[in-house]
Amino acid sequence: MEMNLFRMDFSFSPEEKNFRVQVRTFLDREVSDEFLSDLEEQDEVDFSREFTKELARKGWLAMAWPKEYGGGGATMMEQLVFNEEMGYHHAPTGGHRQGISLIGPCLIVHGTEEQKRKYLPPITAGEVVWCQGFSEPNAGSDLASLQCQAVEDGDDYAITGQKVWTTNAHRADWCHLLARTDPEAPKHRGISYFLVDMKSPGITARPLLNMLASRDFGEAFFDEVRVPKENILGEKNRGWYVSQTTLNFERSGIAWPASAKRDLELLIEYAKETKRNGQSLAQDPIVRHKLTEMAVEIEVARMISYRVAWMQSKGQIPVYEASMSELFGSELLKRLGDVGMQILGLYGPLEHGSRWAPLRGRVVRDCQFSLGLTIARGTSEIQKNIIAWRGLELPRV
């Protein structure tokens, strides 16, 4: 019998496998073809409110959070399994992602008891929509150079500025926002983190039309919007560091390779069923090559994501590894979109709703959407910088 505790094992435990079956059964039923078809017609956030609440009722929405904050206290592997299944089933997360994965963790780590009591329960119940007021027209990759001002005035701060690429700006209930509270301090040390009620006077939010004619993100203008001092999260001027909170929540990025896996399965089915030039597409060596190349890449991406979750399950903090997963996963989806379009040929550019559009226009939609993925949440170039600086210790100038 082996004396050491750890040995290589690529399988999941029986409990984890059971959990996967539970999640899969639920998602097979709820995120049906009909659901997905309806989702494509409608606004994701509006349409998926019921679904989000259903996840909350099952205790899965905030499964990653500690139990004392209304969470499921799930292990890293359980989170990985859940996120993988959600990704594979193309389940919508747009309505709850900000609250559950971004502002929630910051509140848990930095919030006062009162803030936690006020803001966490609606998130765990799936009843509130948050937006992230970070990026500005002149502050993208260089976020720390943001210019939105917060001026102290009595019991409040008056916030003035413009935020852009703000997902859900036009229908969010609350906004977690970075604004400059000390213009004299070095840029990273003069920023504070605010919790802003989007119904406050002085806020104008409107959607921006993205290249898919979808209104996912928007811009928000703040004109001396009054925010009470108790709505600062963490300490004044420490907002940058609050926003860097990497709570030990699953950061594998598994949703992308999982989603890609499902997309590839759909493409394979299509290739087998579609004839061109007297044979099925699946028999064409070039199509076979493209599909199998993607299959291999998807498996590599899955492993790169699994590695992050595994490290976290061991109590390690992945830094460059998480960037690598983000980089690889987003670039993967771009390549998949390309390959899908190539295989569909003339049918590729036909959009959802058009006669003759294959696979409900999913491929052309994903192909376009993927252009945003290598930019959002840290561009590929920034991710490579992080990998080089933090992973390989190459010098920063």
Binding site: E2, N4, F6, R7, M8, D9, F10, S11, F12, S13, E16, M77, I268, A271, K272, A282, R288, H289, L291, T292, E293, A295, V296, E297, E299, V300, A301, M303, I304, Y306, R307, W310, S313, K314, Y320, E321, M324, L327, F328, E381, Q383, K384, N385, I387, A388, W389, G391, L392, E393, L394, P395, R396, V397
Partner: protein, 377 residues
């Protein structure tokens, strides 16, 4: 789920790395590339003393009784050091063939000797048709009284020039399908009728043309059953493919390490070249390729080691690692500039091995086609 190696495996890795750093420096690797035998008998003896030859053999044959996954750790280190010589042929190709199919008597005789460093054995599969498929086997073995008589040409046979035995995959019957009718013969390399010619390869590994002209092999030298050799070859190829991926992963990691170190030292325009974004992004791409290669290889290795079905994972690993190792060495050369282009430098060792390993046990296209079949395409 645990994607890390056990403590024992990490100890094996450290021991292997220390040993190879001392015993197998780059200078020796380059020397042995020119040397006809291509290995150092002194190093071979030391490796045997460490128990490396018989690492995966059962203890009753003087082996260590360790797993395929343990061997993969060792192979990764061997790849890092560009270990020259017949270790892979003898231990992976021949070793697993014998363990899989040989009789008790054969195992006792051969495995024990191999474990003690006293025997070098190789496996001859490919022929001038250059394919790892059963219909590509044309070397014939015809029965004649108590022997079989082998005729034909094998090509790309590793270490045949120094092997004591060559396990030859030959056709004994024209079966209903190409997989049927192939037999494994243990051939004494000094048998009359064998002509072995060393090929000159880019990486200095000893590949050979082996011509069989009326070579007589006693019937009892059949390994496994008559006509049923191909399933054995398939199993061995699975392990060999993963084992080679492990070697390639080790080499890729070393190429990355060298390149990052160089980028930190080399100063141009008043700053280390590693402070320029182009170089930083190259390195980020390289480590992404190395890490991706590692985990897809380990996934396949674990499954093979556990005896789980792994056909898809093995082919995915080789398809990926082939191209990743190549990309890594190309960027490695780019980062090193002109000095990396000199034979004096160590970078060429890795590029040459990357290219040399690409077609071995199947190139990326071959393995992608395997994946296609597994996907039901």
């Amino acid at each position: 789920m645990d994607l890390g190696f056990s403590e024992e495996q990490e100890m094996l890795r450290t021991t292997a790395r220390d040993f190879l750093t001392n015993e197998c420096p780059a200078d020796l690797v380059k020397q042995l590339a020119e040397d006809e035998k291509g290995y150092s008998p002194e190093m071979w003896k030391k490796m045997a003393e460490l128990g490396w030859m018989g690492l995966t053999f059962p203890e009753e044959y003087d082996g260590m009784g360790m797993t395929f996954l343990d061997l993969v750790v060792l192979l990764e280190e061997a790849g890092r050091a560009c270990l020259p010589g017949p270790y892979f042929s003898t231990v992976v190709l021949a070793g697993y063939t014998i363990m899989e199919a040989a009789s008790e008597e054969q195992k006792k005789e051969l495995l024990t000797k191999i474990a003690n460093g006293d025997l070098i054995v190789t496996l001859a599969i490919t022929e001038p048709s250059a394919r790892y498929e059963p219909d590509a086997i044309t070397v014939k073995a015809s029965p004649d009284k108590d022997d079989y008589v082998i005729n034909g040409t094998k090509l790309f046979v590793p270490d045949a020039n120094i092997a004591d035995y060559i396990i030859c995959v030959a056709r004994t019957t024209d079966g209903a399908s190409p997989e049927e009718g192939l037999t494994l013969f243990l051939v004494d390399a000094k048998s009359p009728g064998i002509t072995t010619t060393l090929l000159k390869t880019i990486a200095g590994d000893k590949q050979c043309e082996v011509i069989f002209e009326d070579v007589r092999v006693p019937k009892e030298n059949i390994i496994g059953e008559l006509d049923k050799g191909w399933p054995v070859v398939e199993k061995v190829l699975e392990k060999a493919t993963v084992g080679l991926c492990a070697q390639m992963v080790g080499g890729a990691q070393k190429a990355l390490d060298m390149s990052v170190d160089y980028a930190k030292e080399r100063v141009q325009f008043g700053r280390p070249i590693g402070s320029f974004q182009a170089i930083q992004h190259y390195c980020a791409n390289m480590v992404t390729d190395v890490d991706g290669s590692k985990y897809i290889t380990y996934e396949a290795a674990w499954k093979v080691s556990e005896g789980l079905p792994a056909t898809m994972e093995v082919s995915m690993a080789k398809a990926w690692v082939n191209e990743a190792y190549r990309r890594v060495t190309l960027l490695g050369h780019q980062i090193h500039g002109a000095i990396g282009f000199c034979e004096d430098h160590d970078m060429p060792l890795y590029f040459k091995r990357a290219k040399g390993s690409e077609p071995t046990f199947g190139d990326a296209d071959f393995h992608r086609e395997m994946v296609a079949k597994q996907l039901g395409l």
